[in-house]
């Protein structure tokens, strides 16, 4: 692999050094030879030249045929002797939004717009039919990127006569028809153009001068995206994602910080980024990509990270697990052997640039994208590389259960709810409510110090105070984590109760605003009552201390059935009591309980 040909690439560099790169790439390796015809609606040479580099880098050696400029339709349908003689394996219909023959006009009637659409779609379909019946080849059809300029601003997307609207419909229709015929593969040019964005994609001057619609950077993006489709077509999709652990799958160094202190989960921005990357990896696994771990760590300690309550990935998701102090290049080679796959099927992700460099140097067949150090960008960087792109999800790849589940979710989403209770029931909420645990102390502290709205007393604590309270038998503490159909909301609620004889004083009760109106406070109260009664408490004492921000909970205890025992005249402070001898029936009905 030449690193300069992996995303993110420098188009200017590739174009300037294209001939040398091509020469050097052709010196190496064994090849899949592919005869590739490009029937173009613009000058395709620049894209073709770059496509050749990207394909060579993937072990595919193309021989090209190029149509005369803008003769894609004629050569496919009528004038195909030269094309037939070439005997292409694959034909790319190299069109883009400059090739739409007739866009609707603002004055067109609905019928005329339909005819525009139909005539475009039919034109491409007749190209496909001619090529597949006469040449028996695979066809790759671009969809259409947005035009560089639009006439009517947002209305262009809203009005059926707008270009944006029209191209959207055209793309959907082409996709629908291409899906029905496995000899047609749709190349999503629209998304390729969206990556650099239209300002960096389109260059009208080059269009007028050379009939190249794109900037050099746009051409490179186009070529790269097309190369990903061709690579997938020839089964060169990578099969295995090899992952580092510390600061890649979780924040922190598990060997130094301990499994309790690694940063993962919904509680912090950083933890959330690691969770998102783990979820991305799990999605890859669900469509058949193998996951493997390669980490410099003590194996037993490294494994503990996957037992962290917030870890999305579990040990059983991993096809191979290697944690030791040997060079990673050796370990990756071992993993390839163990899984019986080639090194050219592997992608390695590590936040450490030195590790990436060593693996690149020692194992050039392994793709080592320049992911950077920011985990929040890892999914994007892997996506852009197209390493795991496939042309369809039929066969063994698909996790059908997951698909069915997603469909079920969608239909549930679209349903109408007769009342709020039905909605809450449909959320399928599950809560874990338990006394403070070491692993959550930092999150609890953070929540105590930043929650302003749903916070009855707005008392602030340091982490050592929270730790002290957690271990003090005079306190009853509770944290609540809430999951629902859409995922894990993380640790969202905290109660600290301090006992004096048979009274439990609620020093702190707070909840994150992201789960307000979910009746989570009822589930918290149920658990609190249960634990208080078990500890011989007879009365709960609640306090509301008004701040400029916590008005939303002024009636919190009233709503829960507490009696007001005192209230400041100006309403700045009130005190409430709940007698547990007469008020202990469970209140929560919508939230199921998770017991760890």
């Amino acid at each position: 692999m030449r690193q300069e040909l992996l995303y993110p690439f420098d188009a200017a560099h590739l174009l300037r050094h294209r001939r040398r790169l091509r020469r050097e790439l052709l010196e190496g390796g064994s090849w899949i030879d592919v005869r590739l015809a490009v029937l173009a609606g613009s000058t395709a040479q620049e894209v073709v030249d770059l496509l050749e580099l990207f394909l060579l880098n993937d072990g595919i050696r193309p021989v090209f045929y190029q149509s005369e400029y803008n003769r894609y339709y004629e050569e496919a349908l009528f004038d195909s002797a030269r094309l037939e003689e070439f005997q292409p394996d694959v034909v790319c219909i190299h069109t883009s939004s400059v090739n739409v023959l007739r866009y609707p006009r603002l004055t067109d009637s609905a019928d005329e717009i339909e005819r525009c659409l139909d005539s475009e779609v039919t034109r491409y379909e007749s190209i496909w039919n001619a090529l597949t019946t006469r040449l028996g080849c695979q066809v790759i059809q671009n969809n259409f990127e947005l035009p560089a300029s639009r006439g009517t601003g947002s209305l262009d997307g809203a009005s059926p006569a707008g270009r944006t609207h029209f191209l959207g419909r055209l793309n959907l229709e082409l996709a629908r028809r291409a899906q029905a015929d496995r000899r047609i593969v749709l190349h999503d040019l629209a998304s390729a153009a969206a990556i650099p964005g239209l300002d960096h994609w389109s260059d009208p001057a080059r269009w007028f001068s050379y009939k190249i619609p794109t900037t050099p950077a746009g051409s490179a993006m186009w070529a790269h995206s097309l190369a990903n489709v061709i690579r997938a077509l020839y089964g060169r999709t990578r099969k295995c994602l090899v992952l580092d652990l510390d600061n890649t799958l979780w924040g922190g160094v598990i060997g130094d910080d301990g499994a309790d202190r690694i940063r993962i989960g919904r509680e912090t921005a950083e933890g959330e980024a690691y969770t998102a990357f783990q979820e991305y990896c799990l999605e890859l696994r669900q469509r058949g990509i193998l996951l493997a771990v390669c980490s410099k760590n003590d194996e037993a300690i490294a494994r503990e990270g996957f037992s962290h309550p917030a870890s999305v990935l579990r040990i059983h998701h991993l096809a191979a697990f290697v944690a030791n102090w040997n060079p990673k290049s050796e370990n990756i080679a071992r993993i390839a052997d163990a899984l019986n796959i080639g090194l050219d099927s592997m992608v390695f992700v590590d936040d450490n640039p030195a590790e990436r460099a060593i693996v690149r140097a020692q194992l050039p067949a392994v793709a080592v994208p320049e992911v950077g150090e920011d985990v929040s960008r890892f999914p994007m960087m892997l996506d852009r590389g197209g390493y795991f792109d496939v042309i369809s999800l039929s066969g063994d790849d698909v996790n059908r259960n997951a698909q069915y589940a997603a469909n079920e979710e969608r239909s549930a989403l679209s349903a109408m709810y007769a009342d709020y209770g039905q909605y809450l029931a449909a959320l399928k909420m599950r809560a874990e409510i338990a006394p403070f645990r070491d692993v959550f102390l930092e999150r609890i502290t953070q929540l105590a110090n930043k929650t302003n709205q749903f916070n009855l007393t707005t008392r602030r604590y340091t982490v050592s105070e929270i730790a002290q309270i957690a271990s003090d038998p005079a306190y009853i503490t509770l944290y609540g984590r809430l999951e629902d159909r859409f995922g894990d909301n993380g640790l969202v609620s905290v109660i600290i109760g301090r006992r004096e004889q048979a009274v439990l004083h609620l020093d702190l009760w707070l909840m994150s605003c992201r789960v307000i109106q979910r009746e989570m406070e009822l589930a918290m109260l149920d658990e609190l009552i249960e634990r208080a009664r078990a500890a011989g408490i007879e009365t709960l004492a609640g306090y509301y201390l008004r701040t400029p921000k916590n008005n939303m909970v002024a009636d919190h205890y009233l709503k829960l059935g507490f009696d007001c025992v005192s209230r400041a005249e100006d309403g700045s402070r009130s005190e409430w009591r709940l007698d547990l001898k007469t008020n202990s029936a469970p209140r929560n009905i919508y939230i199921a309980r998770i017991t760890e």
Partner: protein
Amino acid sequence: MTDILERLQPIFRDVLDDQNLIITRASNARNVEGWDSLAHINLIASIEQDLGVRFALGELQDLQNVGDMIDLIERKLQT
């Protein structure tokens, strides 16, 4: 100002993949091997990028050789 010809030299060598190439003011697409139409587009893009100039539509069509191009670039860099 650095000699523009000197700055163009490595660009021509890279794009035409010939590290021994020597271009002069008299060089043009007919007397330099490999200077085809796509190489030309590449040369223009690389020169624009490297020298920080942008050629307008129509500015390039009357150029006869590298000398003409150098003069054009000089005019652009002065303004």
